[in-house]
Amino acid sequence: MDIEKLNSSEATIEPYSIKLDFFEGPLNLLLHLIQQQEMDITEISISAITDQYLEYIELMELLDLDLASEFIVMAATLLQLKSQSILPTTQPDTGENRQFKDRQELVKHLLEYKQFKEAGQALDRYADQNSLTYTRPEIEGVSDWREYEISATLFDLISAFQTVTIRPNFGADDDYYEEIQEDPITVEMQMDFVQRLLTDNKQIRFSELFSEFGSKTEKIATFLAILELVRLQQIMAIQSDHFTEIYLQRKVA
């Protein structure tokens, strides 16, 4: 992994260690990957899911996203489960530093987590429905319910980014860095660029934003700019269904 190299050679990106308050945990990422592969949770292949998970974590590190320690613990757990599945009988369970004893336990936990996640989504529909009924005017000030909307999750954004860059060994090409060192594109510039695009257009496709760019630094800068604008509540990322095109639009106050 060339994270250090990228950081040292890329001064324009380094100051942007993005703190994502809406960061979801490793279980959420696992569910995301399972859904992406259209797998049944009870049928998951530990080996395949571990590889995908690690690939994802690498990309998040490369983007210098503030990675919670839970993601690393989960990576270690998955690796242990994977080795256990390869050597099922000869490897006695040490039980140290891992969240789940075996695959079955992981599946059970994922199912429980999924249920609460879906309950949350159902409650969101209740809130939608409830917002259509109006009451008599309040005597005192109304409480402020505003919170930034993000219909597409962080993982959706990263997945979309993954598809517009070269996968899976994105950023591993040494020669490439020589070239982009000179690149003047900064995250600020891209924030400005995206905002300007959104004054002329009501909506833009996430993928279109990248198609016309050449270098990876530009793509990274654009991607980080999008995350930052979402965080600053300037724009919204909207996805009508899982794994479909993500649209960006200006956040209406």
Binding site: E24, P26, N28, E70, F116, L123, Y126, A127, Y134, S240
Partner: protein, 212 residues
């Protein structure tokens, strides 16, 4: 909780002449209904049966009050009024029907809708279904530190500290608030969607999206 309210009203602070004006002894059913309507009409939040009873110095039973509210709601339904009586957050409230939302929004500014992040929603769901629950229990299910999301739910008034675990550690316990019920349009906690209902709701929203 009811006992406090009883104490408040027993404390003879009510003016004598007011008591005369609001003598409930000879009220007819339709008068009771109209009084309930007037009280709900002037309230901007759900009012509990106990609160409504106190208007009548508790001389009228909760059963009778519910019966009148039901009749009132049926009247609004039959005459196709634009508002209805909803049972919400352990109380009753007059609200407009969803069909009129678009018209109301043409005149009044659209009400700000509860919009939580996916992490906040799943944390709220854990609190709502498993309450009372500790921070650690929430984190075990979510697999990620949940301090800031929990604090933001408390700050929004959707989650409240409801006590302490009696066991070792005496960790704080978290529960959902009445405001949670109100904002999500739930009668009470048993009104939370069941596993089957959740699936139905999500399937429904998916097919809505696909129809677009």
């Amino acid at each position: 909780m009811d006992s406090e309210k009883k104490n408040f009203e027993d404390d003879s602070l009510i003016e004598k002449d007011e008591a005369q004006q609001t003598d409930q002894a000879d009220l007819s059913e339709s008068e009771i209904q109209a009084i309930l309507e007037a009280v709900l009409f002037t309230a901007s939040e759900p009012i509990s049966v106990s609160q409504l009873r106190s208007v009548f110095d508790r001389a009228i039973s909760g059963h009778a009050i519910r019966a009148q509210l039901r009749e009132l709601g049926q009247f609004y339904d039959q005459h196709q009024r634009s508002f209805q009586i909803l049972e919400i957050a352990n109380g009753f409230q007059i609200c407009t029907r969803p069909d009129y939302a678009a018209w109301i929004e043409k005149f009044h500014t659209r009400q700000v809708r509860v919009k939580l992040t996916p992490s906040a929603l799943e944390t709220l769901a854990i609190v709502a279904y498993k309450q009372p629950v500790t921070r650690l229990e929430i984190e075990e299910i979510r697999g990620v530190n949940s301090d800031s999301v929990l604090n933001s739910l408390i700050e929004k008034g959707l989650v409240r500290i409801s006590g302490r675990k009696q066991e070792a550690g005496r960790a704080l316990l978290f529960s959902s608030s009445n405001q949670f019920l109100e904002q999500f349009g739930l009668k009470n906690l048993s009104d939370l969607p069941s596993v089957e209902e959740i699936q139905e709701i999500l399937d429904q929203s998916e097919s809505d999206l696909n129809n677009d």
